[in-house]
């Protein structure tokens, strides 16, 4: 088991290396540079800036320098937020995004799971259709529509909740962004749970459990749900990585200082180190959560073992 985890983590290094390499050169191909403003800077200033940020060196040299610093977990200075290093920016914003994403994930998993199970147990009845219609709406209505509607009703008209701001993660401030983030995930989790639960409830071993007069809890949770949760778990890997690394839309609308905004800002400003930093962070999350999913699988299903 430890051996397997260690192997997977070591195996992530070449993957990360490839991602870093490709994105390093991709962002450099994009026209323009970090210091190109509408009014060009003085040649002397430009030269200075380029020297400080090593932009005057050959590309491969810059690449090697970047690899060296990233190997020491130093993402370098930001080109745009001149007084900050990328590490400092992430240290502030990443915990906020993680807290937001994790809360949304738990909400989605719980509510989506319960709705899915209820729909499966009432298959093709009114409850089922209601849940599934709501789920379809949840998936199809984009969050930049949901967020303003929620802000307008609950924030502006009713005045129950603050319309934006993080306020150190105060409970009231968190509700709207979490709901906005979680809604589409609730919908997906509910659909997935319903589908696999229906299949599980029809399976032969659940029939056995029923035939042996086991309690409803044992039939539904112990025997049906444990198997039915597997597809949800494999969906959650990439979904969790996406949620925890922040959402541009939600963070912008609610004015939350998370990491999501940096994706867009970094790319628009040609803030090379910021773009690279966000790419590496997202890649790490994806790799990490895929590993967690695989370990969860092994935990849930004895036929999958990683010895």
């Amino acid at each position: 088991m430890h051996r397997y985890v260690l192997g997977r983590l070591l195996g992530a290094i070449p993957t990360l290396f490839l991602i870093v390499t490709i994105s390093f050169f991709l962002i450099r191909i994009a026209p323009g540079g970090p210091f190109d403003l509408e009014r060009p800077l003085e040649a002397k200033v430009m030269e200075n800036l380029n020297r400080i940020y090593h932009l005057d060196q050959p590309l491969w040299n810059q690449y090697l320098l970047y690899l060296k610093s990233i190997a020491a977990l130093d993402f370098g200075p930001s080109f745009y937020f001149r007084d900050f290093t990328i590490n400092e920016l992430f240290a502030q914003s990443l915990p906020i995004s993680i807290q937001l994403g994790l809360t949304a994930l738990c909400v989605a998993l719980f509510i989506g799971g319960v709705l899915g199970i209820i729909a499966a147990l009432r298959q093709n009845q009114a409850t089922d259709y209601t849940v599934m219609t709501a789920a379809t709406l949840g998936v199809t209505i984009p969050n930049f529509v949901i967020a303003p509607i929620l802000t307008l009703t609950l924030g502006v008209w009713l005045g129950w909740l603050p319309v934006g701001g993080w306020n150190g993660g105060a409970f009231l401030n968190v509700i709207l962004p979490v709901v906005t983030l979680a809604l589409p995930q609730v919908a997906v989790v509910a659909r997935l749970t319903r589908g696999s639960m229906i299949e599980a409830l029809r399976s032969n071993h659940v029939r056995t459990a029923r035939a042996y007069g086991l309690t409803n809890y044992m039939v539904i949770v112990v025997h049906a749900l444990r198997g039915a949760v597997l597809p949800v778990v494999s969906y959650l890997g990439p979904a969790a990585a996406a949620l925890l690394t922040g959402s541009v839309v939600v963070e912008t609308i609610f004015g939350i200082p998370g990491i999501g905004r940096y994706f867009v800002q970094g790319a628009l400003n040609r803030d090379y180190t910021l773009v690279m930093g966000t790419v590496v962070v997202v890649a790490c999350f994806v790799i990490l959560f895929n590993l967690i999913v695989d370990l969860l699988y092994a935990l849930l299903d004895p036929r999958v073992r990683y010895d």
Partner: protein
């Protein structure tokens, strides 16, 4: 199996089961009366679709959600039909238990055997988990599972089909039931395993004295174990009575047809000097099993040094239990998986040929699979399925010509060509197997490898398919490699028989010699087990 005049322990009266489907209600069971006395073995016999399983599923409250019931199922003076789940759970799993046809999937793959055995005891018997585990261990020993201490911690996937069915039986016995319902408990098992499970059930019944309701399509089993028989057809009981009279003087034509369903006859002899079509020498197929963390990798020889030759027009029957390597051999001969040894087909060495160079030969060597449900694409019409091979092997044909050929092929397998525009799910198992055969016939092959073509079918349908295969063989001079675990079918269709066990040939020879005077102990065991379950019904 005692003669008793006691009151019935379970009485089913006027039971109907209807299923609501999008195309209207389906009447699966139409007013069935069945009763079982204490300690008695009652068999419910019928073909698939006769409603025999649904009758018992309804009694146990296990119908699919679109099922509706009426009538009465009386246990201990109470109608358990339509009881609330809570009330029903006081009875099912405790006093009435059930084992199923699918031992491979009837246990939850995610929990250990011990845990699953313990559950009903904890729920019904009020035992602690620890006490239940101890009792589970005793039960595993009772059903003759080897190494019960180790198996109790095992997961279902670590057990063979026969062992899983033993675990199910142990589970059924846990709470000392009055009635045990066995729904085709041996159908999915090998003949020798089948015989052992039946023996175990009979023995346990003698010792524990519960009543057994045995649902089966296999009359051999019924004759061997049942006190009374109910024969079901289209949701109704058409005949009932003591076992002996039913077998000796069946009153209903349907019963007579079932009794007559054993594949009979034998194949017409072919010219012993016919040219050799297929020659296989020293075929070996080995699978490397993955090394685990602590277990070294080892090589499993699925087929170990098998040679045979097959003359044009002949049928070679390959017999063996699951895991004997018979299917693997069939595939190796067709060059569908890597094997060592020499295979000469029609004078041409085909071993070691790559896919591309095999393709031209494929039309002359066709394959029919066991599973008529899985081997036809659900998204193509029957006409498309049948003529697909022509697209590859006779690309010059026009769409109309292909369609004509598909019609001819369908006629040959006695299906109406009008059906070619339908999809496979609209056909029964026997019809699908006919379609699968038509798909091979359309290419006019020399050799057809038939891999358990009749195993998923009812006896009466089996007989029809065997007759069809024999007719096609005579008409087109086909050569068959017939792989089966079913000795009765092989006897009816093969010229020569090869018995395989663990990848090796145990015995080979003319069909009559093998069946009349088997040389090896294993062959004798196989034949013995087969006769137990598929006894020669004609002998009276």
């Amino acid at each position: 199996m005692t003669e008793t005049d006691t009151n019935p322990v379970l009485t089913i009266s006027g039971l109907t089961v209807d299923f609501d489907t999008p195309t209207g209600p389906v009447h699966a069971v139409r007013g069935v009366d069945i009763n079982v006395r204490a300690g008695e073995t009652v068999a419910i016999v019928g073909e698939s679709g006769s409603g025999k399983s649904q009758t018992m599923m309804a009694a146990m409250g296990l119908l699919a959600s679109n099922g509706r019931t009426s009538g009465e199922v009386t246990y201990q003076d109470r109608n358990i039909l339509g009881m609330s789940v809570r009330e029903l759970n006081q009875v099912r799993g405790k006093k009435i238990t059930m084992i199923f046809q699918e031992p491979m999937t009837s246990l939850d793959p995610l929990y250990t055997i011990g845990r699953q055995l313990a559950e009903p005891m904890v729920v019904h018997g009020g035992l602690s988990w620890k006490a239940a585990q101890a009792k589970a261990l005793e039960l595993l020993a009772l059903v003759n599972i080897p190494e019960p201490e180790r198996k109790i911690k095992a997961y279902p996937y670590e057990l063979s089909g026969g062992q899983r069915q033993r675990v199910m039986i142990a589970m059924a016995l846990a709470n000392d039931p009055d009635v045990l319902i066995a729904d085709e408990p041996t159908t999915a098992l090998d003949v020798t395993t089948q015989a052992q499970i039946l023996e175990l059930l009979a023995d346990l019944q003698k010792r524990l004295g519960m009543a057994v309701i045995f649902i089966t399509h296999d009359l051999g089993i019924v004759r061997k174990i049942a006190d009374r028989v109910y024969v079901m057809k289209d949701g109704e009981v058409v005949e009932t009575g003591e076992t002996r009279p039913i077998f000796e003087t069946p009153a209903h034509p349907y019963t007579r047809m079932l009794l007559d369903a054993e594949p009979t006859g034998s194949k017409a002899v072919v010219d012993p000097k016919a040219p050799i079509l297929l020659e296989a020498q020293k075929i070996q197929v080995a699978f490397a099993l993955d090394a685990g963390f602590l277990t070294p990798s080892h090589v499993l020889k699925a087929v170990d040094d098998v040679s045979f030759s097959l003359r044009r027009g002949q049928t070679l029957g390959i017999v063996g239990e699951s895991g004997s390597g018979k299917s693997t051999l069939g595939r190796a001969v067709l060059n569908l998986l890597p094997a060592s040894g020499r295979v000469v087909f029609n004078g041409e060495l085909i071993s070691g040929k790559n896919r591309a160079s095999m393709r031209a030969l494929r039309r002359n060597m066709q394959l029919v699979f066991q599973d008529p449900f899985g081997s036809l694409s659900p998204r193509l019409t029957v006409g498309q399925i049948i003529s697909e091979g022509l697209l590859v092997h006779e690309p010059s044909l026009s769409a109309r010509e292909r369609d004509e050929r598909a019609c001819q092929a369908l006629e040959e397998v006695a299906l109406d060509p009008v059906m070619r525009n339908r999809y496979p799910h609209e056909f029964s198992g026997g019809q699908r197997q006919r379609i699968a055969i038509a798909r091979t016939m359309v290419l006019k092959p020399d050799l057809v490898v038939l891999d358990e073509p009749t195993s998923a079918l009812d006896r009466t349908i089996q007989k029809q398919i065997v007759d069809l295969l024999r007719d096609l063989q005579t008409a087109h001079g086909l050569t068959y490699l017939f792989i089966s675990h079913d000795l009765a079918v092989v006897r009816a269709i093969a010229d020569t028989v090869m018995v395989m066990q663990r990848g090796k040939v145990v015995e080979a020879g003319q069909t009559e010699d093998i069946f009349e005077a088997p040389q090896s102990a294993y062959t004798r065991e196989l034949i013995g087990a087969a006769l137990l379950t598929q006894s020669h019904l004609a002998e009276g």
